[in-house]
């Protein structure tokens, strides 16, 4: 039956295809038109590349361990030693390259635990509301109220100071931010009709949380992760600087800055070069994170 209301209406408006660009093309355009995000992506990839192929790139791989070369101690940056050498004559460039391995390992370890845990709690709190929300969010608030450095100091003081314990300390603080972020997004999404539509369709809680709501959080999570990566590196370096993180002779950027600072200002490269390396990595992750945020149009 052709109902009178629908006569004389060509299908053109309803069925017509006016898709000139897909959303991924638009996102790519936004990313590309922002030069700082391109630079950020380049820096991040270079850091990851260097960390993976460290033994192949480093000019003197033995410098990464407890190697001593007193002939060349405190030598300034030169053709042989690009970043100079440290107090026992180890090549600082080599140690920076291996230091990135430690830093990235820390990032993967911390975010690998903190993100899934934080996201899960955020989903629970946002989806169920009521008492679940109250308990989870107040617990998160309490964790957020503890000064991070004090918390890390306490944990590493009780356990022994090493990379794994530093990782545990940072992880215990980091999930809270993800919980808050996801909680806020889920709360906003709960007002959308699709959540109720899924409920009417008979979907389980699990399905609604992980299949309907989680995909809507992914872009925010990925932006947050790339911004986080820089801060985790910084926090790990700060712990090492205080002597609570990675212990010598493992090459860590924070430890290197700490040792090098004893020889300032004469042997300036010993603190400056690892410091610049930290700056380089963090800058890269932050620029990339900003670029992703513009590209995916999310607020973190």
């Amino acid at each position: 039956m052709n109902h009178p209301l629908g006569t004389n209406i060509s299908g053109e408006d309803d069925m017509g295809q006016h898709r000139s660009l897909t959303s991924s093309q638009m996102a790519w355009f936004r990313f590309r038109s922002n030069p700082s995000s391109i630079i950020g992506a380049f820096i991040v990839f270079s850091v990851i590349f260097v960390a993976i192929f460290a033994p192949l790139i480093a000019p003197s791989p033995q410098s990464a361990g407890s190697f001593v070369d007193f002939m060349n101690r405190h030598s300034p940056p030169s053709r042989d030693f690009w970043f100079g050498t440290d107090n026992v004559g180890r090549d600082i460039f080599t140690r920076v390259v291996f230091g990135y391995r430690v830093s990235l390992g820390l990032v993967v370890g911390v975010l690998g635990f903190a993100v899934p845990f934080g996201v899960f709690l955020g989903l629970l709190a946002g989806y169920f509301g009521n008492w679940t929300e109250f308990v989870i969010m107040r617990f998160t608030d309490i964790m957020l109220a503890i000064p991070p450095l004090a918390m890390a100091l306490a944990i590493t003081a009780v356990l022994s100071p090493n990379l794994i314990n530093a990782m545990i300390a940072i992880t215990m603080l980091w999930w809270t931010w993800h919980t808050r972020l996801i909680y806020r997004i889920v709360k906003a999404q709960m007002n959308e009709d699709y959540v109720e539509a899924a409920r009417v369709a008979g979907a389980s809680h699990f399905h609604i949380m992980f299949r309907e709501l989680l995909p809507n959080c992914i872009s925010a999570i990925s932006v947050k992760i790339s911004l986080d990566a820089g801060f985790v590196i910084l926090f790990g370096a700060a712990l090492s600087f205080l002597g609570l993180g990675v212990q010598p002779p493992t090459p860590d950027l924070g430890t290197m800055v700490s040792t090098g600072s004893e020889y300032l200002p004469e042997y300036w490269w010993e603190a400056l070069m690892p410091g610049l390396a930290i700056l380089y990595a963090i800058l890269g992750f932050n620029l990339l994170g900003d670029g992703l945020r513009d590209m995916m149009d999310v607020e973190v």
């Binding site: 039956m1 052709n2 109902h3 009178p4 209301l5 629908g6 006569t7 004389n8 209406i9 299908g11 408006d13 309803d14 069925m15 017509g16 006016h18 898709r19 000139s20 660009l21 897909t22 959303s23 093309q25 638009m26 355009f29 936004r30 959308e192 009709d193 699709y194 109720e196 539509a197 899924a198 409920r199 009417v200 369709a201 008979g202 979907a203 389980s204 399905h207 299949r211 309907e212 995909p215 809507n216 992914i218």
Partner: protein, 566 residues
């Protein structure tokens, strides 16, 4: 013409986005004479708002590029003026009334502060100085013009404390503060209920007459245009396709597009009206609701204690037979959607019994069998379809949770897409790749996936353009016939319901004030509220206008929300 207050000549505007340039306005020419009411009508995306923003100078450049053309206001080319000179015209020469009465206010400032700011900054622009008392006097006078009373209380309130109609009145008042000569109205009242909209339109008309203003009225609603314009411009895809006096446009529209627009407006009275009948003569009461009430607790205070109850639905009785298209009409907040959600089992009822297909909703019906009985199509497919899931994933959810195997799901999804006239290849697409009408088809397909007997349609066409509304309505008719469905149609669009429902219930403040066959209700409304509601609907011919029930102002104000006083 010398007497043109506004003369837009051959305006070409394009937008440059994502490295591509697309033309938005193509040679648009509009003129408004002194004291004239001109309407610009077109569907969403036709370029109405871009035109408006180009005139008032708020078009963001980039991305917009004004390629050629001029905008003459009192024979001055606005596009050639400097920013400072142009700002002087804002408010005092050209003023604007925006569409959304809530979004146009700053929620944390009082009405007085916001109105005073407008006066203050325009004084600075023009270069005069006035004291607080003087400004307040001007504001009070303006509020009187827009028929608002109780000024002291009103001025000290925050926007959230006012009703939608009052906000729109204040907004109109704000645009009048600096005695403009030309008023541009961008769909005022569209976000409001039809009865409130009527009041706002009447107010605008009387203002234009009394103050000698010129009006450029932007809308998509033909019925509104008939009451608001001396001359009409019809816009399609950035072009003016037809322009003529109101009488001529409505009597003999010439352009194909104008004709299509006219025909897509559902008639309220006359021979063109369709009377829908239930072909199933059986009186089985597939849904019977008796004495249904629902109240929501209102929590206030420091301890979040329940202080009072909001009675959303008050002792409602309904009997719907299979094959009915049962309309639930009423304004926002009248309890229509609450009833629908109770029927779907999303809210429990406070009291009363509901029987659906002989199952009693109170006696813990097995959820799965219940889902197969009744399903819903939401108003806005942009919200009811998950943006991050493909059409196939969306359609498979109900199937997955009622025990379909993966093979069966795949077959059923293509079957469903065919049922709603969509190509099977669309199953891999995401909602944002589809147009509004296509999205709503997907939403309908999802609701039908479990072969329910009853479909609740919660304003399924109100988020769509009027031309697309028709195709969706056609689809719903076909599906009903094909699958033997029963519809509960929730809407505030009475002219659409007149042509789509065989029975209708009018809801007023949580109660059903009148119910019966659609034909009888429209030809002979009994309740005062029904009369007021029908008389407020904008229609597109004088014949229909004369057939509307006559309601005096006193009668209206007895049943309708007061928009003049807090």
């Amino acid at each position: 013409m010398e007497d043109n207050i506004l003369d837009v000549r051959n305006l070409n505007i394009s937008f440059s986005n994502y490295g591509k340039t697309s033309k938005v306005l193509r040679g648009v020419s509009i003129n408004v004479s002194r004291g004239e009411r001109v309407s610009l009508i077109g569907q969403s995306g036709s370029g109405k708002t871009v035109t408006m923003r180009a005139i008032i100078g708020t078009l963001p450049t980039p991305p917009a590029i004004i390629e050629s053309g001029e905008i003459l206001y009192e024979n001055q080319n606005l596009l050639a003026l400097s920013r400072l000179e142009r700002n002087k015209i804002k408010g005092s020469g050209i003023s604007i009334i925006l569409q959304d009465p809530l979004l146009s206010f700053n929620p944390v400032l009082t009405i007085l502060r916001q109105m005073e700011d407008i006066v203050k900054y325009s004084d600075v622009r023009i270069g005069i100085s006035r004291g607080h008392e003087e400004r307040k006097k001007l504001i009070t006078e303006t509020l009187r013009k827009v028929q608002l009373s109780d000024h002291e209380r009103l001025l000290n309130s925050y926007p959230i404390m006012l009703s939608g109609g009052m906000r729109q009145r204040v907004l109109i008042g704000m645009s009048l503060l600096n005695n403009p000569k030309l008023l541009i109205a961008d769909e005022p009242g569209t976000a409001l209920d039809v009865t409130t909209q009527k009041e706002i339109l009447d107010l605008l008309n009387s203002l234009v007459k009394d103050e000698g203003l010129s009006l450029l009225f932007i809308t998509h609603n033909l019925g509104v245009v008939r009451e608001m314009a001396d001359r009409i411009y019809v816009m399609q895809n950035g072009e003016i396709v037809e322009t003529n006096s109101r009488e001529n446009i409505f009597k003999k529209p010439e352009h194909q597009y104008t004709i299509k627009l006219m025909e897509s407006v559902p008639p309220l009275f006359g021979d063109k009206v369709t009377d829908v009948k239930n072909t199933n003569s059986e009186v089985d009461g597939i849904i019977s609701v008796s004495n249904l009430s629902k109240s929501f607790p209102i929590r206030t205070g420091f301890f979040n204690r329940i202080t009072s109850q909001n009675h959303a639905v008050k002792s409602v009785n309904l009997v719907i037979n299979s094959g009915d298209i049962y309309g639930l009409a009423g304004e926002s907040g009248s309890g229509k959607t609450t009833i629908a959600k109770i029927l779907l089992g999303l809210y429990g009822a406070t009291s009363g019994t509901i029987k659906i297909d002989k199952l009693n909703l109170d006696e813990q019906v097995e959820l799965k069998s219940y889902r197969k009985l009744i399903q819903i199509v939401y108003q806005n497919p942009g919200s009811s379809l998950n943006r991050k899931r493909t059409v196939a994933q969306i359609l498979s959810v109900p199937l997955k949770f009622s025990g379909y195997s993966n093979e069966m799901i795949k077959d059923r999804v293509s079957e469903l897409l065919q049922m709603v006239d969509l190509p099977v290849s669309y199953s891999a697409m995401y909602p944002h790749e589809l147009s509004g009408g296509q999205k709503q088809r997907v939403a309908i397909a999802r609701a039908l996936s479990l072969e329910p007997k009853i479909l609740v349609l919660d304003e399924p066409t109100s988020a769509l353009d009027v031309l697309i509304q028709g195709t969706v309505i056609n689809l719903l008719h076909r599906l009903k016939k094909q699958l033997g469905l029963t519809y509960i149609f929730i809407s505030h669009d009475l002219s659409l319901m007149r042509n789509f429902c065989n029975k209708i219930a009018i809801m007023f403040k949580g109660e059903i004030c009148e119910a019966g066959n659609t034909k009888d209700i429209f030809s002979n409304p009994q309740h005062l509220y029904t009369k007021a509601l029908i008389s407020s609907i904008p229609v597109i011919s004088d014949k229909e206008e004369n057939l509307k029930p006559k309601v005096t102002y006193e009668e209206r104000s007895a049943v309708l929300q007061n928009t003049r006083k807090i």
